[in-house]
Symmetry: C2
Subunit: 182 residues, 2 copies
């Protein structure tokens, strides 16, 4: 008998599902970031703590991210463009889902690679045309997956990952964002 | 006369607005990321190239991002959680907008700091309750801004930044995402 090991502790997730079904308060998480303007359109954003399971939690290490605009927009390109961070989140969320679902279904993954492309008409953010939206026109994700599974099983993995993906939901559906000055 | 310098080349942006008004094809950008599964729910996403102004463009440096899940979800926490990348994008996009609008309005910024909080009921992604959405319930951004401006002017900066923010739009409004297996 082959042991399927994608490195995902599915039993812990199934246990968490059962535990949180009876403890909805513990399931309320708050993800947090703090950001600081550096110069021009360059900023630095730090992520360290979050709230969940009823208490403050801490990532193993603090993560710091630079964002900027490219030189073709007369900026310093010290980091990727803010909207590109959404592609990082989308690719990594779907990939994590694929690994988890594969583990749950007993499918050994060998490799999972993806390309994500977000098409963007920058006339919106530049104020050229108020009929052009500011964000992406659309986003396309293409997976290349090598696994001990049929093409149909692989497509089903990807479909189930989408169905449970936090970031896929956040990009495809509206979320209320409140912006305030302290 | 005081020279206002937030490090943003507003004239270049105004020139781009004028140039792209007559060249909509050049305004069609494609932002790209490639992602690779590492193990468990840990993946690495790389950003280097994008398409814009009618040709392939390259960031000054390649950027690599780790994403993972926290240890409380029985994962290795080698990087931040995918959904946290959305907070990085949102904070940095609004901050870049504030710097640009301030420059255009002749307002000297001294500091811009923000905290972003995304509330998330993880019963959705765990499959506990199909009425709970997978993504954020809502997101709150709070700015602390020190600038040569009245509170009213600062609030107007923040409002205008929201109005032109690519990421604010992408999170508050739906975007079509297509996911395929190659």
């Amino acid at each position: 008998m082959t042991v399927i090991d994608n490195g995902v502790n599915v039993q812990a997730l199934l246990d968490a599902r059962e535990a949180l079904a009876g403890a909805p308060d513990a399931a309320q998480f708050t993800w947090k970031a703090t950001s600081r303007w550096e110069n021009g359109v360059h900023s630095q954003t730090t992520i360290k703590n979050f709230f969940g399971l009823g208490e403050e939690q801490t990532h193993r290490t603090e993560a710091v991210f630079d964002a900027d605009h490219p030189e073709i927009f007369a900026a310093t390109d010290i980091g990727i463009t803010p909207i590109e961070y959404l592609l990082v989140g989308l690719a990594s969320c779907l990939t994590a889902g694929i690994a988890s679902v594969a583990q749950n279904r007993g499918i050994q993954l060998r490799s999972v690679e993806s390309t994500v492309e977000g098409s963007h008409d920058v006339r919106g953010i530049l104020g050229v045309d108020s009929d052009v939206r500011n964000g992406f026109n659309d986003v396309k994700v293409t997976f290349n997956i090598d696994a001990d599974a049929s093409r149909q099983e692989i497509e089903a993995l990807v479909a189930q990952s989408q169905k449970r993906s936090a970031v896929f939901d956040a990009i495809t559906n509206p979320t209320e964002v409140t912006v305030e000055v302290a």
